[in-house]
Amino acid sequence: MTGMSMRLRGRSWLVTLLALIVLVAVNAVLQPNLFTGTVLKSNLTVFLPLVLVAIGQTYVVLAGDIDLSVGAVIALVNVVTVTVIAAIGNGVGAVLLGLLAGMLTGMACGLFNGFLVAVMRFQPIVTTFATGIIFSGLALRVLPTAGLPVPAPYWRTYAGSLLGLPVTLWIFLTALLLVALLSWRPFLTHLAAVGGSRTGAFQTGLPVARIRIQGYVLAGLFSAFASLCLTGETASGDPLMGRMLALSSISAVVLGGTALAGGSGSAFGSVLGALVLGMIGNVIFFAGLPFEYQTLVQGLITLAALAGGVLVAGRQRW
């Protein structure tokens, strides 16, 4: 193993940070007004949902699991929220209750996933693939077609400002604060322990199943946050919302230096990963390349991140 890969081990998010800086620089050249308030704010609005889902996904991946259902959770949370708001009547109280219902829905989805995976011992990939289909089905049952606009106070607040800063920025900062608070808790070490060595964690006396479930519940909750942000942007219900976000969130987690096998990584890294994925879209747009290249490039970058992870971690023999 070379000296550099040794030093990079566990810090591959530094590479992602570097990539982000380069992308921002390129973007700034292509789009001279990048650093104006409105452009930054619109960028953040676009990136925020993926940032939030990626944070949630990190907690599942750290424990050695994966959640493919987060996209469907976003759709389900969206339709539940708009339906609850519409049912209660379009006041501020209704909006707050709708938000609460959305968050509870996300957590319930996470609890369901966690129960199947950690208690019933189902295989995480296949299980969350299946529950994703179930959640999509439920979303279509709740709201068969797009529509059902949310009341103005909802989307006006989301698009507005608080104490001179955009609300989206406040949400972003709050999410970072939540990540920091979580990372200081013993819980995060336990999560990494469960992902790093399940037997070791069990023999140490950690409640392995409970920890894995908590990871899934966090993923559900952060998916709900993402959904509520998307709802603030689109201002209506859409049972097909968030389809692409499940796989993008995994890309962001990988880019952020979290090992897909679990045990090491950080949600801050995933935030960087999500921003890199977003900036790639920007650069491609302003470079005048066809939009279709965006997905292709994001895929290649994710592959490169995986390859980098293999180089840093050292190769297995088979």
């Binding site: 808790r185 013993p186 070490t189 322990a193 060595s197 070791g200 069990f202 409640p207 045990g263 023999r317």
Partner: protein
């Protein structure tokens, strides 16, 4: 005052196998108590039951006079019991400090991890060990980067950090060198002075007599005797471990020309668990690998199969040097490997019996395409040679019992007509009838000229089947038994590192 631990009449069965029929152990406060026995006597199971990682079927456990019914490790821990795991319970990605306090992180009032206290406390535990730990054992190092002896020290510290009142050390000295062991013993004596009770399991009898107050011996799942260490000696203890085990008749020595070229020569093989192992295997010979579990026997076999390549050392097959970097290298030279861990090492789950047998032949014969019909007859013969009971070659492997599955995996190798057969505790979990068939076959193969390296965790199997036995201890060959020295007594004694 009630004893620190009193376990009585403990029973446990795993499916059909009785692991414990009458386990009993009493440990006083401030005592270091050795638990000894041959392989499979149940000592590890008894310890795991006390520590709550295995649930007992019957019997009672009392800690300081209070009944203990652990459902999970955390329950036993709450009662002040800590187990040093032979296989180690560390998380490779976490740092030394994080591992030591995993699940017991000191917290600030806000419920966050108190990093400073964590590192101070870990530093205080680690400090005394620094002198003997070698370089690179630092609080912030991920455990993945530590050497085996350093990991073992971290596991010891992790146990101590729990401030337990009863500690079970299962082979806690296995990877330590003499200086580290001495340091560790000094620590044990301090703990003893504080009234902490300890159970000590080790494959080194000299260590047992050096540090322990009393010795309890187990045999065949039951406790047979407890001695004060000062009033007994190695002989009595080893006899108690072996019991009145019938002396087995060795198979007749096959007459071979004395100048015959050896089939397999291993010269100073080294690996993660091997220290300079050398051996010579002749055609038609069954060479046993004995000793307590995990002393390097499997490591040698897996090394010779290329599954866990050796770090250094020479291997010659029929006089020609061999490079074994992956299993395919071994297979193409006619080396076959049968593992007791079928699920991990052998089974192609969900595939047919035909495919499971064919796997090795493809590699040996470098086949690309096959005519199943032509191979089927050969496979049927191989399976029939083992009295395998199966519905048809197309039936899935999972439809067979453990014993019949194992026969299929042996048939896989028979179909390649191997020159060297590596048997890695192959009879684990198979029934007696299947075992008998299996041993018949091994003897038949040897009579036909195949060379066999046979590791078994059951001493009786080794004594009953082998021409010679190499006894492993701590990754090296401690003794070679043949002819008159092939007795259970000699085997057990050598396994515990007492070559006398």
């Amino acid at each position: 005052m009630p004893p620190a631990l009193r376990a009585q009449g403990i029973t446990k069965r795993f499916d059909a196998v009785v692991a414990l029929s009458d386990g009993a152990l009493t440990v006083e406060r401030g005592e270091i108590h050795a638990l000894l026995g041959a392989n499979g006597c149940g000592k590890s199971t008894l310890c795991k039951i006390i520590a709550g990682t295995v649930l007992r079927d019957g019997g009672s456990v009392q800690v300081d006079g209070v009944p203990l019914e652990p459902k999970r490790p955390a329950d036993a821990e709450a009662a002040g019991i800590a187990l040093f795991y032979q296989e180690l319970s560390l998380v490779p990605q976490l740092t030394v400090a994080e591992n030591i306090f995993l699940g017991h992180e000191p917290r600030t009032r806000a419920g966050f991890v108190d990093r400073r206290k964590l590192e101070d406390d870990a530093g205080r535990l680690l400090g005394p060990f620094q002198a003997v730990a070698g370089s690179g054992l630092d609080l912030h190092t991920p455990v993945a980067r530590l050497a085996p002896d350093q990991r073992q020290i971290v596991e010891i510290l992790k146990v101590l950090a729990r401030r337990p009142r009863l500690i079970i050390f299962d082979e806690a000295t296995a990877a330590l060198d003499r200086r580290q062991v001495e340091f560790f013993f000094r620590m044990l004596r301090e703990l003893k002075a504080q009234g902490i009770a300890m159970i000590f399991i080790s494959h080194r009898l000299d260590e047992v007599f050096e540090i322990c107050d009393r010795i309890t011996v187990m045999r065949n799942g039951a406790t047979v005797a407890t001695y004060p260490a000062a009033e007994t000696d190695v002989n009595r203890v080893v006899h108690a471990m072996v019991g009145a085990m019938a002396e087995h008749l060795h198979p007749p020595q096959v007459e071979r020309p004395a100048n015959e070229q050896p089939r397999l020569v291993v010269d100073r093989a080294r690996g993660r668990r091997l220290r300079d192992v050398s051996l010579t295997l002749r055609p038609g010979e069954i060479l046993g690998l004995g000793g307590l579990q995990g002393q390097g026997q499997s490591a040698l076999l897996r090394g010779l199969f290329g599954a866990d390549p050796l770090d250094s050392g020479r291997v010659n097959l029929d006089g020609a040097p061999l490079r074994l970097r992956k299993p395919a290298d071994a297979v193409r030279h006619g080396i076959a490997y049968v593992s007791g861990d079928r699920g991990r090492d052998a089974a192609l789950h969900g595939r047919s019996i035909f495919e499971n047998i064919a796997a090795a032949s493809f590699i040996r014969e470098r086949r690309v395409l096959v005519w199943p019909g032509r191979l089927a007859e050969r496979f049927r013969q191989a399976a029939a040679a083992l009295n395998t009971k199966y519905a048809g070659l197309e039936a899935p492997i999972g439809s067979l019992s453990g014993g019949n599955q194992q026969k299929i995996f042996i048939a896989r190798w028979l179909a390649t007509r191997p020159a060297v057969l590596l048997l890695d505790d192959p009879t684990k979990g198979i029934d007696l009838a299947a075992k008998a068939d299996f041993f018949d076959l091994v003897q038949r193969l040897a009579a036909e000229g195949a060379s066999i390296l046979f590791y078994s965790s059951e001493d009786a199997e080794l004594l009953g089947l082998c021409n010679r036995i190499l006894v492993f201890n701590g990754g090296a060959i401690a003794a070679e038994l043949s002819g008159g020295t092939m007795t259970a007594l000699h085997l057990t004694r050598a396994a515990y590192g007492d070559a006398a």
